[in-house]
Structures are given as C-alpha cells and as structure tokens.
C-alpha cells in the first residue's frame, strides 16, 4: 500500500542535508508551511539556499529559519514585506546572500525544473538591470532573455487536503507557489490541514497529484493569523 503519510516531524525531515536548495511555498504567510519550517530548524540542516517569494514576516516561519542562521542565500522576488526585520538585519550585516528574481520568472524557472525544460526565453526584465549578464535573443522581432530552470533538493509545501497517495488540494489563494514547487523538488514534504481517505478528492480538482509528493504530515493548525 502506498502511504506517504508520516507520523512524526523527524520522519518528515529525515535526510535533508547541509547545502540543500529548499523551496518554500507561500505568498506572504498564506500557504507558507510554518510548522515544517520549524521542523527544519530543529532538524538542523545548515548552509541552505532558500527559494521563497518573500523573506519572512516578524520572527516566525521563514523569518525564524533565517534568524537561526540556517540560510546562506535566499532567492526571492520581494524580500520586503510588512515586517521584514530579520532579513533586513542579516542583509545589512552582509550575513545573507540575495538573488532577486522577478516573481513570474521565479515561478516559471521552477515550473521548467519540474517539466524537464532546462532553459527558456522570457520577455520579463529585458533592458533592466536584472537582465545583466544574461543571454539576449530576438524572436519574431522582440527581445527576450534566457533563464535557466531552478531545481529544488527539497520543497516544503502547505496543503488543505491530502490523501495517502499524496494528492493535494489547496485553499483559495494559498495555492500560489505550492504546486509549482512540489513538482520542482526531488523531495517534497507537505503539511496538510486535513487528511482524507483515498478516493475522497475529486479527480478533476486535485491541484497537485501525488506523483510530486513524498511525505505528508497532518498539521491541523487552523487559520493563518498574519498575511
């Protein structure tokens, strides 16, 4: 029987190594797997590269991961949030590296990684300083730059419902980067608010099929409190 549901955080985090590229779902705090992030802090892997849209709010979740010194580099589109105190401090002190990527390019680079596409051309950022050093090429009279796939060693995902095959649904805008990251990483770990029986999810509605999921931890934490 395929059963991707794990019972403990230790099982969920087993084998994550120093130096890993960790994709972390969420847009702001919505869809951000804060309990798994806490588990990763306790698991202790260091020297991580984190890919996430933002850089954490306050001192919880992603911000806590940064604050506890586990992250060498962050790849994100918008490190400024309402309360980015931790990231700002680390950045000013030169203790963290930042790769700022346009949000859509970040999403597409991970989509490419999951889809077996090593590189693609995009119009985003052409003529701007974020295109510095990138190959430029013209198609049908318009300029584009080359962007390469962004692969994850690990993805941390927050879902609404999960079954034992790892099929997932999300709640409203908490979908965001989660399905993209689930497909882009070699090891995809999910915290899900609800665990349902196999067959309970509408096959037309599964947003992440289980093939992209390795481990699911039941985390019924209730409502997100900050955005």
């Amino acid at each position: 029987m395929i059963n991707k549901i794990v019972q403990t955080m230790a099982e969920a985090m087993a084998g994550i190594r120093d130096g890993s590229v960790v994709l972390i779902g969420g847009f702001g705090s919505i869809g951000q797997p804060n309990v798994l992030i806490q588990g990763l802090i306790e698991q202790g892997a260091k020297d991580l590269t984190v890919v996430a849209n933002n850089s954490g709010v306050g001192h919880v979740g992603l911000a806590a991961l940064l604050e506890t010194g586990h992250v060498r580099k962050i790849v994100c589109s918008f490190p400024r949030t309402a309360d980015p105190v931790v990231f700002e401090k680390l950045w000013r002190e030169g203790r963290i590296e930042l790769e700022c990527v346009p949000q859509g390019t970040m999403a597409e680079r991970m989509r490419a990684a999951g889809a077996g596409i090593p590189a693609f051309y995009t119009p985003t950022a052409v003529g701007t300083k974020l295109a510095a050093g990138k190959e430029e090429r013209e198609f049908r009279g318009r300029k584009y730059i080359l962007e390469e796939a962004l692969y994850g060693d690990v993805a941390l995902i927050e879902a609404w419902q999960a079954d034992r095959w790892g099929n997932l649904t999300y709640n409203s805008s908490a979908r965001n980067f989660n399905p993209v990251m689930a497909a882009a990483a070699r090891l995809t770990i999910v915290q899900s608010q609800h665990i349902v029986e196999l067959g309970a999810l509408d096959p037309e509605k599964v947003a992440t099929p289980g093939i992209y999921v390795n481990r699911v931890l039941h985390v019924p934490y209730g409502e997100p409190t900050v955005t």
């Binding site: 589109s77 949000q103 597409e108 991970m110 119009p123 950022a125 300083k129 409203s172 965001n176 980067f177």
Partner: protein, 218 residues
C-alpha cells in the same frame, strides 16, 4: 510644485476614479499594489471588469465584511479580498503564464518615473539602496497588452516624474501607453507625451512648467 491658485490637483481617489472611467466592460485588469488598487472601487458593479491578482486570483472582488473574512484569500498587496461569482484560482506558474502571455487587457502600475519613450521605473530608486525587491512588476510591465501608469505628476520636492529618460532602474522598456497624474491624462506614443486632458484651469504651458519632457496636445 507651484501651481496657479485656481488649479486643484486631483486626489489619489479622484485619479483612480478618472482612470476607472476609461476601463470598458469585459477587460481583464491587474491593478498594481498601492494606489492603483483603488481603481476597482470606481468601476460600478454593473460594468463587469475582471480583476486579476498575480498570486493566482482571477475575478477579485472587494474587501470582505470583517466577519466574512476568508483568511486564505488575499491579493498581491496581502489584503483580504473576496472572489466574485465567475472567479477562479490558479497556481503561480499559471498566473504568470497568463500575465506574460499577453492575456491581460490592462495593467495599472504606480511608478517613480515614466520616460517619453515609454520606459518605466517603479521598483527601486537607487542601485545601492537596500535589498532589491521587484515582485511581479517586471512580469506585469512586460506582459500586459496595455500599461497605464497612475502617479503624482511630480515628486514631493517638485521634480517631474515625466522625464526624457528614466534615471531610476528600469522596470521595463517602452511599454507605457498612458499616464494618469494628479494634473493630467497623457498618452505615450512614438512621438513622446501627448496630453489628452488636464485638470480645470490648467494650460499646456502650466503643465509644461512642471514637466521635464516636452508635451504636446493630442
């Protein structure tokens, strides 16, 4: 900015309303974080315009009543929103495929500067300031069919935001089609800035005095 006594610049809300008047039924529209989001308030419910938020929401509705908040439903500005009947959700790669693929009729951006060649600078005021944070601005600027900018005509210290060439880091090259400022509505075409409309009492000469780049009447 020194204006004649009988000229009253528009407020942010008036600018939003003025811009909303130009959005026809049936358009798919992304409103930039900040002031542009107010445009939605001035599109009457019976004129169906579909608002997109780049975090995967198509068919964004107004803010919910405090007791009706869905805490998993926010817009790109991280405010609680609602979903209209006919709305749907998608993941980030699909959302930016929609944006990059030219399916939005309009994106309204705030900006620091717009140049007469249509260049726009809206994400950073310096090369060395603090951590660069671009968000989805470059994708939207490069992807939507039309880019309209909504911004004050000048900075607080009176410098023109309509310039010959942007001095701030660019968001995208040659994309802006129209600018709604607190003083005027100005098209950007191959010949530069063309003034469509000015606030009451304003003349082209007056407007030119607070504008770096040359203006002409449409």
């Amino acid at each position: 900015m020194n204006l004649k006594a009988d000229v009253t610049p528009m407020t942010r809300r008036e600018m939003a309303q003025r811009l909303a008047d130009d959005v026809p039924e049936g358009w798919y529209v992304n409103l930039g974080i900040g002031a542009p989001l107010q445009v939605a308030d001035y599109v009457p419910a019976e004129r169906e315009v579909v608002f997109q938020s780049e975090n995967g929401v198509l068919g964004m509705g107004p803010a919910p009543a405090p007791d009706k908040i869905n805490r998993w439903l926010i817009n790109a500005g991280k405010q609680y929103i609602t979903l209209r009947a006919g709305g749907s959700y998608m993941h980030h790669a699909d959302s930016f495929a929609l944006i990059r693929g030219g399916h939005l009729d309009l994106c309204v951006l705030g900006a620091f500067q717009v140049a007469e060649n249509g260049d726009v600078a809206n994400w950073s005021t310096s090369d060395n300031d603090s951590a660069p944070a671009v968000g989805g601005a470059m994708d939207l600027a490069a992807g939507a069919r039309r880019i309209w900018v909504m911004m004050d005509h000048t900075t607080k210290s009176g410098e023109s935001r309509l310039v010959r060439r942007c001095t701030y880091p660019l968001t995208a090259v040659g994309v802006v089609k129209r600018i709604y400022t607190n003083l005027a509505v100005i098209d950007v075409d191959d010949a530069g800035f063309a003034v469509r409309q000015m606030v009451p009492g304003m003349t082209l000469d007056d407007l030119q005095k607070v504008t770096d780049a040359p203006l002409r009447i449409m």
